[in-house]
């Protein structure tokens, strides 16, 4: 297998996906979950642009990556706002503790 820049970046994409998946499985802090989602989406953006580059359609890769980037930012903004509200009202950021609360 040739050690080309595309192959190295593909390893980077899947490596970041693996690290993000590990974080998603092991983290219970709400703010850290938002951070881990950011890592996962960065891997997806890199993958989209890499696919566009390899297939000779970098413009389509860029446009889809831009849409994903906007969606990811909105997820981060709303997620952080929810985390702040949960912390202020219930005094915890633990997902499992919040999911046990009943009105």
């Amino acid at each position: 297998m040739a050690l080309s820049p595309e192959n190295i970046l593909l390893v980077g994409v899947f490596g970041l996906l693996g690290i993000g998946l590990y974080g998603l499985l092991t983290t219970r802090n709400l703010i850290k979950i938002v951070m881990v989602l950011q890592i996962l989406v960065k891997a997806a953006i890199l993958g989209l642009v890499l696919a566009g580059k390899v297939s000779g359609q970098i413009d389509i890769g860029q446009s889809t990556a831009a849409t994903v980037l906007v969606a990811d930012t909105m997820v981060a903004v709303v997620g952080l706002a929810l985390a702040v509200q949960i912390r202020l009202r219930w005094g915890t950021l633990d997902v499992s503790a919040v999911s046990k609360l009943r009105g």
Partner: protein
């Protein structure tokens, strides 16, 4: 060869920062390492030729989101220790490792595809070929702003009710 080494260094640095984001005890340090991941991703996107997305990633991913994270951490305080994993960490690591290896085994080596289509400038692609994406982006930004305003308004109303 130099380019390959450069890419390799960027990927290794990205892995290191992503790992530190998850294992850092201090949540503020985790946010700063996440900003480093964004900056390194932007560098890789720039080298791939996606200059516009690289600039957006650098300004939004490493800038705006980091500022929002620091603001959120300043509101909730640094007393935000991670309670620990529900499933054993070794099991989670094994699942992720196996998933990554399977994906790499199925994808490598990556072969460039010869296409007759000439890549258009991004602005033409966005406003002619993928105009729906632009509208989706507008709706997403609008929804995000409305969501934040809704949360802040609710908090203000509750404070005024207490008075």
């Amino acid at each position: 060869m130099t380019q390959t080494i450069f890419y390799l260094l960027l990927v290794i640095a990205c892995f290191f920062c992503a790992h530190r984001t998850m294992v850092a005890k201090d949540i503020l340090s985790a946010a700063l390492f996440l900003a480093c991941v964004s900056a390194l991703t932007a560098a890789m996107l720039y080298l791939l030729g996606a200059t516009q997305v690289a600039v957006i990633e650098l300004s939004v991913g490493a800038g705006l989101v980091t500022v929002l994270m620091v603001y959120a951490i300043s509101v909730v305080g640094k007393d935000t220790a991670d309670p620990g994993s529900i499933i054993p960490r070794i099991l989670a690591a094994a699942i992720c490792l196996i998933t990554t290896i399977i994906l790499l085994w199925a994808s490598l080596p990556l072969m460039p595809v010869e296409v007759s289509r000439v890549a258009q400038p991004l602005i033409n692609t966005l406003w002619q070929g993928r105009v729906l994406d632009v509208w989706v982006q507008v709706v997403l930004i609008f929804a995000g702003v409305m969501g934040i305003l809704g949360l802040l308004v609710e908090q203000t109303v509750r404070k005024s009710e207490k008075v």
